[in-house]
Symmetry: C2
Subunit: 294 residues, 2 copies
């Protein structure tokens, strides 16, 4: 990892982890609800969506703070989706990032409501973005709601559920993942481009790069689920296999999955080439996702 | 009920019931998710929030169609809240408007996701409002997210849950209801005022009227829960008492609750007086809420 990228990761994480809880602490609501929201918001994680967004801003020489509200909205919606996914009626997970899941600590009802509140508040935050025009804010809200809703993440979650126990082809699996996690990652990249005011053509290309990143992320996750340690990944090793879920190594074998990872990594770099954004933090980000051990 | 008001109710309901499902049918997503969303969206109901919004538009001589997107967003968010409230981990209800609840038909996981999708899509809809400026849209999104989120409805739902089995005073009960249902009803009224471009002073007064409407609505609901028939209200009579929930008749007695209803009805009319909006559909609406038998 380059020294610059390491510093950038550190700075971004620090900014998010300082500002994100503040957006929740200032809401006038029940302390129990706030506590449940903050519990999952502060559970850590890689903050990949904010990092992606801010890497785009940096590549276009914008200050990363210009992406603060969108970055925090992304973390809120990502966190709500994890809380709801972990519920007994869904994936029924007891552990998340090495800590008890939200409903294990606060009970199911509060966990459902904490998720609903985070989801709703992410839109409040988007309505309050500084530094951009009203039209740009609305454009971001429109893209964000599509990436997070029935067309994107929520629909992908249902598709994932319906696919459980079924034998999927690699394209079907990629299509489900694309909606479940790819759309929101692609939005993170696209939002950076929108805030930086790049051309529609560059926005389209960056969106495509964001989709590659989503794919890289998921393939690597599946590989880590087989090869990682419980300490590093914060959940039992092999839990996907246990949950009867299709995975890239399950379909292609471990070597096949690694080859697919390498090939999409090349495609991601190719996209950056076309954008004239090689040797930026975006390249470091793709490399980081492929090489991470957690 | 005046002939004009009856026609208005009919016209508004018809518009909503024709257009609302279309906003969902056109989403590109899993048919099962769409089916679950449409099941609850098409379960009927009084469409009180759209009616309130459109009554304000009519009072200011605006076409009711100018409120279509906000009205449908209101119905989506209201419907999501019912789906989540009915879940086994929450109120655990099997019946809603005389029909099996969403999770009884589609299972818990799909019901959770259908709620999430409706909530998310309501914001998409608000980003697409026609007839108003970008600034006005953002203002509506900001008000809407506050009314629906931790500060408003979701927080009220948690407060309601925490209060179960406790002996509440009438002010505590009113404060919980104000957040659980009042904020969104007040938003419906305020949104009408914002779209009609009224003065901030009138917006403030209309918001106060909306809060009175919310209170009237809840007191009347509690009275109907005791006096109504299962055919009319679509759920078992006395289910609040059975669920160990505080109600206005429970605290004040049936006569006391009716007196409170009458007094807040007077206050609602007083607000309309100050606005110069007596003898509009808004007065009919208040009267309708107080006199309804379901």
């Amino acid at each position: 990892m380059s020294r610059t990228f390491e510093l950038f990761l550190h700075e971004t994480k620090q900014l998010i982890e300082r500002e994100l809880p503040e957006f929740i602490r200032t809401i006038n609501t029940e302390s129990r609800l706030k506590e449940a929201m903050l519990y999952s918001i502060e559970a850590g994680g890689k903050r990949v969506r904010p990092v992606l967004l801010m890497a785009v801003l940096d590549a276009y020489k914008f200050p990363i703070k210009d992406g603060l509200e969108v970055a925090c909205a992304l973390e809120m919606i990502h966190t709500y989706s994890l809380i709801h996914d972990d519920l007994p009626a869904m994936d029924d997970d007891d552990l998340r990032r090495g800590k008890p899941t939200n409903h294990k600590v606060f009970g199911e009802a509060t966990a459902i409501l904490a998720g609903d509140a985070l989801l709703t508040h992410s839109f409040y935050l988007l309505s309050q973005i500084t530094h951009v025009s009203a039209e740009t804010k609305l454009h971001l809200i429109s893209l964000f709601s599509e990436a997070a809703g029935a067309k994107g993440m929520v629909g992908g979650q249902l598709a994932d559920m319906l696919a459980e126990g079924k034998l999927l082809g690699v394209n079907e699996l990629a299509s489900i993942h694309n909606r479940k996690t790819g759309e929101l990652l692609a939005f993170a990249v696209e939002a950076g481009a929108v805030i930086a005011g790049t051309t529609p053509e560059d926005q389209r290309k960056l969106r495509a790069f964001g989709k590659e990143i989503g794919l890289l992320f998921q393939i690597k996750d599946d590989i880590l689920d087989l090869e990682g340690s419980v300490e590093a990944i914060g959940k039992p090793v092999g839990s996907d296999v246990h949950n009867d879920k299709s995975t890239y190594p399950g379909i292609l074998g471990l070597d096949g999955a690694k080859a697919m990872l390498a090939s999409h990594y090349d495609q991601a770099l190719q996209s950056l080439n076309e954008l004239g954004l090689r040797n930026t933090l975006l390249e470091d980000m793709a490399t980081y996702i492929v090489n991470r051990d957690r």
